[in-house]
C-alpha cells in the first residue's frame, strides 16, 4: 500500500512537472484582425505546436484600439505579451526582441528586404526585429457603374488629382450622388497625395519636418475641396482629435464616386458591395510634383525582449516567415505579400471574386510608383506623432478654426514639441 501511494505521488509529481514545463513554454500572441488574420494564424500555429512539442501559442484576439493604446503601456510596464501584431512598426522598437541569433538571417534579408528596416530604430541597420505580415498600399477605389451611368470616361492611368476631382464632381452631379470624393481621416492616408504634391516630409539631414511648401500646397487643395463640396465633409469634420474615420460605408452604399483608402479594404468591398455596382482600383493619382505615390504600410509580427522564452518566440515568428506558410496565410487573408519570394511567385487568393483578385493585383502593381519619401515615412519611428498632428491640424483648417497657414504653423510647432519630448 505504502509503495502504491509513493508511486502515485511520484507519477502525479512527474505529470505536474511536465505540465509546468509545457506551460513554461507558453507564448502569448496579442493579435488583431482586419479580416480573418487571427483565425488563420491560429490554424497554422496548430501545426507549429504539433511540430514543436513543448511550445504552446495562446492567441489573444484584441481590438485594434488595444494594440494602439494598451500594448505600449503594457510594454512600458513590463507586462506585455510575448508576440504581437503591430502597426507602429518602428515606434515600439525599443521593446523588440532581436531575432538575429535565432533565425537564418540570410533567408530573412533575402525574403523581407527593405521592410526589415521599418522595424529598426535609431542607427541599428542590422537587427531583425519583425516580420511584415501584410503589406498594404494606399490607393483609390472608384464606382465604375456611376461613371458608366454618367457617360463620363474614367480618367487614364497618369491622371492627376485635379483631373480625378473634376471627373468625380461631374459624375456626382450627373448621377445625383452625394459625395464626389473622400479620403480616410488618417495622417497616413493623406501622406501619399501630399508627397505627390511635393511634400518631402524630411529635410536633407533626414530629420522629420512634416510641413514644407509641397505639404502646404496639398493641404490648401484638400481644404478647398472640402469648401467646394468635392470632398465628403462628414469624414474629416465628423470627428474630433486624431480619431480615425473611413468612408468605406459611404462607398459601399453607392454614395461616393472616388474613395481613397487602401488595399486592406479589398476584402470588405468584395464581401459587401457584391453585385450592387462595379468597382475598380485605380491606384494613386499623380500630383503637380510629378509623383503618383501612395503610402506603403501594413502590419507585422514582432517578439518582445521582455519575454521569458526568446527562443520559442523566435521559433514561432520564423515559422510564420517560411515561404510556404507565408504564402498560405497571404492567400487565405487576402493581403498583399511583403515576402519577396511569395510576391515573385504570385498569389492566388482564396474565396475572392475576379474583381477582388484584379484589385489586389492593381494595388501590387502600384508598389513601384511609391516614392522613396513614402517608404522613409513609413519606416520613421515617430510617424504616428506626425500622422496624429496632420489629422488634428488639417481638420481644424477644414472646419475653419484655423487658416491653412495657422494650421501648418501649429503642425510644425507640434512636431518640434513632440520630438523634444521623446529625445
Amino acid at each position: 500500500m505504502k509503495q502504491r501511494i509513493l508511486t502515485t505521488t511520484l507519477l502525479t509529481s512527474a505529470m505536474l512537472a511536465g505540465a509546468g514545463a509545457v506551460s513554461a513554454q507558453e507564448v502569448r500572441f496579442m493579435c488583431y484582425s482586419d479580416g480573418n488574420e487571427c483565425e488563420v494564424y491560429e490554424d497554422v500555429l496548430n501545426r507549429f505546436e504539433a511540430e514543436n512539442e513543448g511550445i504552446t501559442v495562446a492567441i489573444d484576439v484584441v481590438p485594434y484600439q488595444a494594440i494602439l493604446e494598451n500594448l505600449p503601456v503594457q510594454l512600458a510596464a513590463g507586462t506585455g505579451p510575448d508576440i504581437a501584431k503591430v502597426t507602429d512598426l518602428g515606434g515600439l522598437n525599443e521593446y523588440y526582441l532581436d531575432l538575429t541569433p535565432y533565425v537564418d538571417a540570410g533567408y530573412w534579408e533575402a525574403s523581407f528586404g527593405d521592410t526589415l528596416d521599418w522595424y529598426r530604430g535609431g542607427d541599428d541597420r542590422q537587427g531583425i526585429y519583425g516580420m511584415h505580415s501584410q503589406l498594404t498600399i494606399t490607393g483609390a477605389f472608384i464606382n465604375a457603374t456611376l461613371f458608366e451611368q454618367a457617360g463620363i470616361e474614367i480618367p487614364g492611368e497618369d491622371a492627376t488629382w485635379a483631373e480625378w476631382a473634376e471627373a468625380a464632381r461631374a459624375v456626382a452631379e450627373a448621377t445625383d450622388t452625394p459625395f464626389p470624393m473622400a479620403i480616410d481621416r488618417s495622417g497616413h492616408r493623406v501622406a501619399g497625395p501630399a508627397i505627390s504634391y511635393g511634400a518631402a516630409l524630411f529635410n536633407e539631414d533626414g530629420e522629420a519636418i512634416l510641413v514644407d511648401d509641397g505639404f502646404r500646397a496639398f493641404v490648401q487643395q484638400f481644404v478647398d475641396w472640402h469648401e467646394d463640396g468635392t470632398m465628403a465633409r462628414d469624414v474629416w469634420a465628423g470627428q474630433g482629435g486624431a480619431t480615425y474615420q473611413d468612408a468605406a460605408q459611404e462607398f459601399i452604399n453607392g454614395e461616393l464616386v472616388f474613395y481613397y483608402s487602401g488595399s486592406w479594404q479589398v476584402g470588405r468591398m468584395n464581401e459587401q458591395v457584391g453585385d450592387f455596382f462595379d468597382w475598380q482600383v485605380v491606384g494613386s493619382p499623380c500630383g503637380p510634383a510629378g509623383a503618383c505615390s501612395g503610402m506603403p504600410g501594413g502590419a507585422g509580427i514582432v517578439g518582445f525582449a521582455q519575454t521569458d522564452h526568446p527562443e520559442a518566440v523566435a521559433a514561432v515568428i520564423d515559422f510564420l516567415a517560411q515561404e510556404d506558410i507565408y504564402a498560405e496565410v497571404t492567400a487565405r487573408t487576402s493581403n498583399l505579400p511583403a515576402h519577396l519570394g511569395v510576391a515573385a511567385a504570385g498569389v492566388t487568393y482564396e474565396g475572392v471574386s475576379e474583381g477582388a483578385q484584379a484589385a489586389l493585383n492593381a494595388f501590387a502593381g502600384d508598389l513601384p510608383d511609391v516614392a522613396p519619401a513614402a517608404f522613409a515615412y513609413q519606416g520613421y519611428a515617430g510617424n504616428r506623432a506626425m500622422f496624429g498632428i496632420t489629422v488634428e491640424r488639417v481638420s481644424q483648417a477644414i472646419v475653419g478654426e484655423l487658416t491653412v497657414d495657422q494650421a501648418m504653423e501649429r503642425a510644425a510647432a507640434d512636431l518640434q514639441a513632440a520630438m523634444a519630448e521623446t529625445e
Binding site: 493604446e69 505600449p72 503601456v73 512600458a76 510596464a77 507602429d88 515606434g91 465633409r233 462628414d234 469634420a237 465628423g238 470627428q239 474630433g240 482629435g241 486624431a242 480619431t243 515617430g382 504616428r384 506623432a385 500622422f387 496624429g388 488634428e392 481638420s395 481644424q396 477644414i398 472646419v399 475653419g400 478654426e401 484655423l402 495657422q406 501649429r410 513632440a418 519630448e421 521623446t422
Partner: protein, 322 residues
C-alpha cells in the same frame, strides 16, 4: 445568535482591552480608522501624489523613475498665452479651446438643465394624472449608459438619421447636424440635459415634497397668487436643495467626457472637445503620450473641482447650522 456572538466578543475583548490600556481610549479610534485610511491612502491619496509627480516630469515613458524632472515646465506650457481669451495666442491652444468649450458647456448645460429640472419637478409635484408614469419617464435616461445615450442621439442626428428623415418627409430637407460646429455644440448640450435632467428632477422633487403643506394652505387662505406663492414660499424653501443641485451639476458638467466622446469625438475640429477629453488624448490616445502635460492639466481641473466641492460642503454646513 448571541450564543455564537458572545464567545466571539470575548475573544476580541482581550486584545482590545490590551490595546486600550496601551494606547488610551482616544488613540484607540485610530485603530478603527486604520483600514479605511489605508484604503483611502492607496486609492485616493497615492494617485494624487503620483499625478503631482507626473506633472513635474517630461518625456513619454510611463515609468515614473525613467521620466526626467522638468519642474513647472508643463504648467508653463499650459498657461503660456498672450491672451487667455484667444486660444490662438496660446502655446497649447488645444488646452484653452477645451477650457473655453467646457466653460460654455457648463454654463449652458447647468443653466438649462436646472431650469428644466425645476419646472419638471414642480409639475410632477402636482396632483396630475399618471404622475408615477411621468416620474419614471423623466428618470429613465439617467439609467442608460452614456455610450448608449450617445449612440441613440447619433443615430437620430446623423446625415441619414431619424430627424433628417422626418424633416425630409415634411418637406423641410435635412441638415448635417454633427459636422457644423455650432449645431454640434448645441446638440451636445441638449443630449447632456436630456441624459441627466431626471436625476436633478428627482432631487428637486424630494426638496419640494419636504416643504410643509400648511405653509401653502396659509398662502391660499391669504389669497396669494400662484406666482407670489412660488416666489415667496417655494423658491426660498427650496434654495438649499437648489444650491446642492447646482454644485453637483457644475462638478458633473466639468467632468463631462464619455457621452460627448462617443457622440461627436470632440469634433468638428475641437468644437466639442472638453477638458477631460483633452487630458485623455494628450495622455493616452496621442503619440507621443504626454503624461506630464495630461497630469498637469488634470491637476488644474482637480483644483477647480476641489473649489466647487468646498462650496458644496460650505453650503451643506450652513444648511445644517441654519
Amino acid at each position: 445568535m448571541l450564543v455564537i456572538l458572545n464567545p466571539l466578543m470575548r475573544i476580541i475583548e482581550i486584545p482590545m482591552m490590551a490595546l486600550q490600556r496601551l494606547l488610551g481610549v482616544n488613540r484607540l479610534a485610530w485603530v478603527f480608522l486604520l483600514p479605511n485610511l489605508l484604503l483611502f491612502g492607496l486609492f485616493a491619496f497615492l494617485p494624487v501624489i503620483l499625478n503631482l509627480s507626473y506633472s513635474l516630469t517630461g518625456g513619454d515613458n510611463v515609468l515614473l523613475e525613467a521620466r526626467p524632472y522638468v519642474g513647472g515646465r508643463n504648467f508653463e506650457t499650459l498657461t503660456s498665452c498672450s491672451s487667455f481669451l484667444d486660444p490662438n495666442t496660446c502655446i497649447e491652444d488645444k488646452f484653452w479651446r477645451a477650457v473655453w468649450n467646457t466653460l460654455w458647456f457648463v454654463t449652458l448645460q447647468v443653466g438649462i438643465m436646472v431650469g428644466f429640472a425645476l419646472l419638471t419637478a414642480i409639475i410632477l409635484n402636482r396632483d396630475i394624472r399618471a404622475r408615477g408614469f411621468f416620474r419614471s419617464v423623466f428618470f429613465f435616461p439617467v439609467l442608460l449608459s452614456p455610450v448608449v445615450v450617445a449612440l441613440i442621439w447619433k443615430w437620430i442626428l446623423q446625415r441619414e438619421g431619424v430627424l433628417n428623415a422626418f424633416l425630409d418627409w415634411i418637406g423641410i430637407g435635412g441638415f448635417n447636424w454633427l459636422i457644423d460646429a455650432e449645431w454640434a455644440f448645441a446638440w451636445t448640450v441638449f443630449l447632456s440635459v436630456w441624459a441627466h435632467m431626471g436625476f436633478y428632477t428627482l432631487i428637486l422633487l424630494a426638496g419640494l415634497q419636504a416643504i410643509p403643506r400648511d405653509v401653502y394652505e396659509a398662502a391660499l387662505m391669504d389669497r396669494a397668487s400662484p406666482w407670489r406663492t412660488f416666489r415667496r414660499i417655494t423658491l426660498p424653501l427650496l434654495s438649499p436643495t437648489m444650491l446642492v443641485v447646482l454644485v453637483l451639476a457644475l462638478i458633473k458638467g466639468v467632468q463631462t467626457f464619455d457621452e460627448v466622446y462617443a457622440f461627436t469625438g470632440g469634433g468638428p475640429g475641437t468644437a466639442t472637445t472638453f477638458i477631460i477629453q483633452y487630458i485623455y488624448e494628450e495622455g493616452f490616445a496621442g503619440a507621443p503620450r504626454l503624461f506630464g502635460l495630461a497630469a498637469a492639466a488634470s491637476l488644474m481641473v482637480a483644483i477647480v473641482l476641489v473649489v466647487l466641492t468646498l462650496i458644496q460642503l460650505w453650503i451643506n454646513r450652513r444648511n445644517v447650522d441654519g
